[in-house]
């Protein structure tokens, strides 16, 4: 267990530091975040035509309210936590790659739900928007990571049971 926590911490800090470097931000994180904004807007558009997305920003044309997706709001940190946990846990390379790929998609699905919900909460009530944005959604995203990791552990345990 201590080995797992040590490995997890080392991998996590390395990936997190890498993510914070300016070239990585400019060439990977910001384009990815803009892409997330575009996806979120394209999901909103069939139901609400008064919405536009440019760069990392989604704006409501009628009210002028806009959200900008910043570091910490793009699900990358949550994905880094999952990657570090999966890599640190004993499994085959194939199992790890599958867990990271499926987990990354699951985190981003949840994150897009967060972006869209915050976009509408902000137009409705600024105080609830701030509260949900700062204190509630980070916990829900981390719970999402935990659920994915626990499901992965159950899958590994079932495979282990079949093999023995």
């Amino acid at each position: 267990m201590l080995r797992f926590i040590g490995l997890f911490t080392g991998i996590f800090i390395s990936l997190f530091t890498l993510e914070m470097l300016n070239p990585v931000q400019a060439h990977v994180i910001v384009p990815f975040t803009s892409w997330l904004a575009q996806i979120s807007a394209s999901l909103i558009l069939p139901f609400d035509t008064g919405v536009i997305a440019y760069g990392k920003v989604i704006r409501d044309l009628a009210s002028g309210f806009a959200v900008s997706i910043e570091a910490g709001c793009n699900g990358v940190e949550a994905a880094i936590v999952l990657i570090a946990a999966v890599v640190a846990f004993p499994a085959t390379i194939r199992q790890r790659i599958a867990a990271i790929a499926i987990g990354f998609i699951a985190i981003q699905v949840m994150n897009i739900a967060r972006i869209i919900s915050l976009f509408y909460l902000g137009q409705w009530n600024t105080e609830i928007f701030t509260w949900t944005h700062l204190y509630l959604w980070p916990v829900l995203i981390m719970l999402d990571v935990l659920v994915i990791f626990v499901m992965y552990l159950r899958f590994l345990a079932a495979r282990q049971g079949q093999a023995s």
Partner: protein
């Protein structure tokens, strides 16, 4: 509560328990953060006595009282002008780790729950205090400019390190610390024992 809780039921319980835990935290937030604030005050005033005179509570915010005042747009000694510049830090962006950790622990069956919870809370407060110090450093660096960087203390972190620690303290630690603590403290519970077997099993004897 039954000791055999499935992972699905556990997650459901966590979601349910988050509501009352968040409610209590919202009501008690200023009182809950006071111990961490007290330690942050001691750390900051002893570490940087030339910059910080106090770190104190102001509603749900921490207020860093600096040794500087303002005169005609310039930073001068607080004593010379008779007032001190205060910098606010939102402590709730750190302390929401307390209701999250509480919900995780309450949803986990097992023995010595109270003792485990108390130990976890102590660890959580250590992280909370250090995170608060990181937020204070970031506020001082961005608001005092060269008055902060010119202190020249050997133990003064570089701007890049402060930026990294600030991001880590606000984005990651409030949500990751409760999960890591919970995982460590619950590794022997029926909920996690089977799942974590590859980490605890001894290698086969030849």
């Amino acid at each position: 509560m039954s000791t055999n809780v499935t992972p699905g039921r556990f997650i459901g319980l966590v979601f349910l328990l988050l509501l009352p835990c968040y409610g209590l935290w919202y009501l008690l937030a200023p009182a809950l953060v006071k111990p961490a604030l007290g330690f942050a005050h001691l750390l900051m005033t002893h570490w940087m006595p030339g910059i910080v005179s106090a770190v104190q509570m102001d509603g749900t915010q921490a207020l860093i009282l600096t040794q500087f005042g303002e005169l005609e747009g310039k930073l001068v000694s607080a004593q010379a002008v008779g007032h001190a510049i205060g910098l606010a830090v939102n402590t709730q962006i750190l302390s929401y780790s307390i209701p999250f950790y509480s919900a995780l622990m309450l949803a986990t069956p097992g023995e010595n729950k109270l003792a485990r919870y108390a130990n976890g809370i102590i660890c959580l407060y250590v992280v909370l205090t250090l995170s608060l110090v990181c937020l204070c450093l970031k506020q001082l660096m961005t608001n005092l400019g060269h008055h902060y960087t010119d202190q020249g203390s050997l133990l003064q972190p570089s701007p890049n390190l402060i930026a990294l620690l600030f991001q880590l303290s606000t984005l990651i630690l409030p949500v990751l610390t409760p999960v890591v603590l919970w995982l460590w403290q619950s590794k022997d519970t029926p909920l996690l024992k089977g799942l974590l077997l590859p980490l605890t099993a001894k290698p086969d004897q030849p």
